[in-house]
Subunit: 138 residues, 2 copies
DNA sequence: CCTTTATCCTATAGAATTAATAGGAATTTG
DNA sequence: CAAATTCCTATTAATTCTATAGGATAAAGG
C-alpha cells in the first residue's frame, strides 16, 4: 500500500504533465485533484527539493515540471515519497537493509520471493512515466 | 512493504511446512526463526483462528499446518496479516474501497496503473506456496 | 494428583508513521 | 502598496506497528 502522500504526488505531477509548461498554482492543483491544499503544499515543496518541479513565487506564480514527462517514472515518485517499493528492505536495491532475524540471506526463501515481487512491481512502476499517466483518462 | 507480523507468519509457516506433520511448539519456531516468542504467539493464534494451523495444548503440544503446504500461498498469508496487497484499495479485488478524492474511477490513470501493479505482485505472491518456500534454502 | 509444558486470552504500552493543519515570513506581480 | 503565491517551521490527532505482561486453561507423564 502506498500512502496518500505518494498518491497525491502522483496526481499532482500528472496534472502538471497534462498542463505542460503552464504555471499551475497549488490551489489549482488542489482543486483539480481534490487534494487538501495545505497538505499538497508540503508535498510540492518536497518535490521541488527533489528537483521534480520548478516553482515561481508571487502572484501568477506556481509550479511546472522540471523535466520532460517521459523522464519521470511512477517508481521515482513513489520511492521519493514512501521509500523503497520492495516488500522487504532485504530485497531492495535502493534501500537495502539486512533483516535482524536473518541467519543467511542467500538461503532465505522469503527474501528470494520478495526479490521476485519487487521485480514484478518494478516492471510496472518503473516503466510507467508521467507521460503515460497524463495521456490516459482525463 | 510488509510488516514484521506478516514476515514472521510466513517464516513460521515455512518452518512448519519443513517439519511437515510434526508438532512444533511456539518456542521451537521462535528459536529456529529468531522471532520474539510472545509476538509469535499472538501471530500463531491468529493463524489458528484463520484455520491455517491446528494447535494442541499441553506438554508435547504445539502447532501443525492445517492444510497441505501447496494449498497455502504467500498471498493468502500476507493478506491475512497485512490486508490487501494492491498499492491502493481502489485497485484491490479483495479489499476494494473507493478513494474519496476520486471523481471517476474508470478514467483514473493512477488506479489503472495500480491494478497492473497488483496483478504483477499477485503473479508472484499468489503462485508461491508454502511448499515452494519450504523446499528452497535450508 | 501433581508438575511441567504448552496454548490461549486480554490488556497495555511505547514508538513510529501518517495525514494533515496552523500561522506566518518571504517574494513577485501588477 | 495590495494581492497572490510559495516557503518554512511547528504541532497535533489518529492510527498502526511491534511488541510485552500476566495469568487462565488444558494436556501429558510420572
Amino acid at each position: 500500500m502506498i500512502t496518500n502522500k505518494a498518491k497525491y504526488a502522483l496526481k499532482a505531477l500528472t496534472i502538471l504533465a497534462r498542463h505542460s509548461k503552464q504555471q499551475f498554482s497549488a490551489q489549482q492543483i488542489a482543486e483539480e485533484g481534490n487534494i487538501p491544499h495545505k497538505f499538497l503544499e508540503t508535498i510540492l515543496s518536497e518535490l521541488k527539493n527533489r528537483k521534480l518541479v520548478v516553482s515561481r513565487r508571487g502572484s501568477s506564480g506556481g509550479y511546472v515540471l522540471a523535466k520532460d514527462p517521459d523522464e519521470i517514472t511512477a517508481g521515482d515518485v513513489i520511492r521519493m515519497m514512501d521509500g523503497p517499493i520492495a516488500p522487504l528492505l532485504c530485497a531492495s536495491p535502493t534501500g537495502y537493509r539486512r533483516c535482524e532475524d536473518c541467519e543467511d540471506e542467500e538461503l532465505c526463501a522469503i527474501r528470494k520471493m520478495m526479490m521476485d515481487s519487487r521485480k514484478a512491481l518494478s516492471s510496472v512502476l518503473d516503466k510507467r512515466t508521467l507521460k503515460d499517466l497524463a495521456k490516459f483518462g482525463r
